[in-house]
Symmetry: C2
Subunit: 422 residues, 2 copies
């Protein structure tokens, strides 16, 4: 479309572009030459200051929560989730139409908590099983919850569904159905992200912290590279993003991934998976993934070079894949959010964080990343094959202690017979 | 209810019933009084004829497919799914806007097939593993597919996501984002339903056939009860539905559920679960669920009564729950569809079935029902037949020797930890 108008009337299109530029920048900004459109902008400095200040607070709080442990990180995820849902629910509603539908917002939150019980319920009870195996009564309660959790969630969902239908109001149908659809989209988005994130945390904080940090690093690097060198607009959706920022950030992120994985990989607090809900100290065998391997540099570096070998953890190679994804694909989460904002004509998803906009504005790329990290970890890192894990879960879930023991003895017998045969 | 209307005005109800029998012929029914707004309607007769005719064809084809077996039913589900997606995709698009977005429809189908690989992939490969355990190479191929299936699907999804963002066109943002959201809603709806349905089929055709039949019975009964006795409108969303139809249908459905479960429960073809992809004959121990229990009627019936006892399968009590759901809650699926049609101002979702509208129009309640049947079966039926032997069989069938050993060690570790705790 735009191409057409360019070719049909190039002069006009240049004029249009020029006029647009001067509206975005303050009217008195000096323009040394036309190509440096993104380097000089007075507002940039003020907004950068605010943004830096709240970024520091966020990062500090984040580090403290990570130090506190799995359960606290989970709680943080839930809080973020509630804020995001709130921002998104608010976004698309029309106050005047809502006034005629008492209790309609409540329905959104009913679905929200149903989704929460669904996504976290199973996970929570599996962790609980490991936490309280000694108490038989609690074990049975938890088993019951696991067993009927799906049914309970379905029941709650259907209750909301029936409620929705019974409160349909003439002339409001279209608004109500659109809201219903959006509620589902929002919940899908918010819970897909956060349930994967929580799963990552319990596989080892490493698998949450590294991807999340890479996104932050990429964002910050893109911001600064764009700030100082940005000239060439990257994509129409986000006029502030530049190729210089994108490429600079990519290199920074991939390099950081490799280094950061080595640093984070040294702490058992971060690398050990946690199978229960306790918050105490963690000890485990980190496994071969985090055992440094020695690579000789002889022949690769000049004679006088101080290092004769490097020690690289295998996990660092995986970190490269995460870095690549964080810098190349994850930004599309941001483009998506930008496009969405433009489509529905608003600037930010909210105003919770000064200089950043809403929580959702900060989470756009994190979401894409968390899902990738989870699936990457499941597919390429987890040493145990998936099927063993699945069957083990089935055993712990569905069999009583006695039955589990019978199964164990049976398996032992079979192995014994096999050995006799060989 | 039927009794009520009979007793209140026997003559009239006979008259109505008589008129109805001749319904299939003359379209010149006279209108006795104004309050019977739903009993007399000239178009009703013609549409009823068409509808009956195509219903018979559908039911015939359906019975044949069920006779052919699991794989064929699955194929039918997939065909229905494709038609539904097609109808729904068509519904909300605007032809004039699509013309400016070449390849945009293709994206919908890209997501559709990604969802298909995701929902069926895991299921399919699990069944394949059981089909071909003897062939080591194929086994390894299938294991690989299982292991990387999630990653492949994620990759495909992200490819579509990036494609979407790169093809965003100025001034079309809102349309494109809405389409994107609707695509997700449609896929969620279509695949939630069908993946649960396919799971039901392989748990035993019984668990697919009974719920699906109950919906059909409820639909037909509501139609006829409404046709003959319908006076009191039930809900504004569907002006053709009446309380008489609803209540008459409920009683019919619950009764049918109890009887039908007994009939279907006698065929091993329907009750045995299938663990592989073959289509041959099925033999199994149907389990206690399908073993008739004797209930003595002495003391409950008069002396001369011919039956002294009844034989009831335990599954029949479960069938009552399914019948209750099919008649009370599942119709809300229909109300939802009606409301949706009114909200967006169209009559039918499509025109694939003469007299019925689109496939989607026939599937609205089936969807709600299939999900319920699956969750009900998982929560209240399956657990009873879940035994050590079944899991042991799974282990020996699905895991390699190494994996079996890992599982054994893991179990041992868990027992050891448990003992330490006590």
């Amino acid at each position: 479309m735009q191409k057409d108008s360019n070719s049909s009337d190039p002069l006009n299109s240049i004029r249009v572009r020029h006029r647009k530029r001067s509206t975005e920048a303050p009217p008195d900004a000096t323009k040394p030459n036309g190509s440096k459109l993104l380097v000089n902008d007075r507002n940039k400095y003020k907004s950068m200051l605010i943004r830096t200040y709240s970024s520091i607070w966020m990062i500090g709080g984040f580090v403290f929560i990570v130090y506190m442990g799995h359960l606290y990180i989970w709680a943080m995820i839930v809080v973020i989730q509630i804020f995001m849902a709130k921002e998104l629910f608010n976004l698309l509603r029309k106050a005047n139409e809502d006034r005629q539908l008492p209790g309609f917002r409540l329905l959104n939150w009913h679905f929200f908590f149903t989704a929460m019980i669904y996504t976290y319920g199973r996970f929570l009870s599996r962790q609980l099983v490991n936490t309280v195996t000694s108490d038989k009564l609690l074990y049975q309660l938890v088993s019951g919850l696991i067993k009927y959790q799906m049914f309970i969630c379905y029941f709650l969902y259907i209750a909301g569904f029936v409620w929705f239908i019974l409160t349909l109001k003439k002339k409001m149908y279209k608004y109500q159905f659109s809201q219903y659809a959006w509620t589902h989209m929002i919940l899908l988005l918010v819970f897909a992200q956060s349930s994967f994130t929580v799963a990552n945390i319990y596989e080892g904080i490493f698998w949450f912290l590294l991807p999340a940090s890479l996104i932050v690093i990429n964002d910050i690097a893109a911001y600064f590279f764009g700030f100082f060198f940005g000239r060439t607009p990257l994509i129409k959706l986000s006029p502030k993003k530049t190729w210089e920022g994108f490429i600079g950030a990519s290199i920074t992120t991939i390099f950081s991934a490799f280094v950061l994985a080595n640093i984070l990989g040294r702490f058992q607090w971060l690398t050990c998976p946690r199978k229960d809900l306790s918050t105490g100290w963690l000890y485990c065998d980190p496994g071969p993934m985090f055992k440094p391997e020695h690579y000789s540099l002889t022949g690769w570096v000049p004679q006088g070079f101080p290092w004769k070998e490097v020690r690289i953890m295998p996990v660092q190679w995986h970190a490269l894949a995460l870095g690549l994804f964080a810098s190349i694909i994850a930004p599309f989460g941001g483009f998506f959010a930008s496009g969405f904002k433009r489509a529905f004509k608003f600037k930010d998803f909210g105003d919770s964080i000064p200089g950043h906009g809403g929580i959702t504005d900060r989470m756009d790329c994190q979401m894409v990343m968390a899902v990738f990290a989870y699936i990457y970890h499941q597919s390429f890192v987890m040493s145990q094959s998936f099927s063993v894990e699945m069957i083990l879960e089935q055993i712990l879930r569905n069999l009583s202690f006695e039955e589990q023991h019978i199964l164990y003895m049976e398996l032992g017998k079979i192995f014994h017979e096999r050995q006799l045969m060989q």
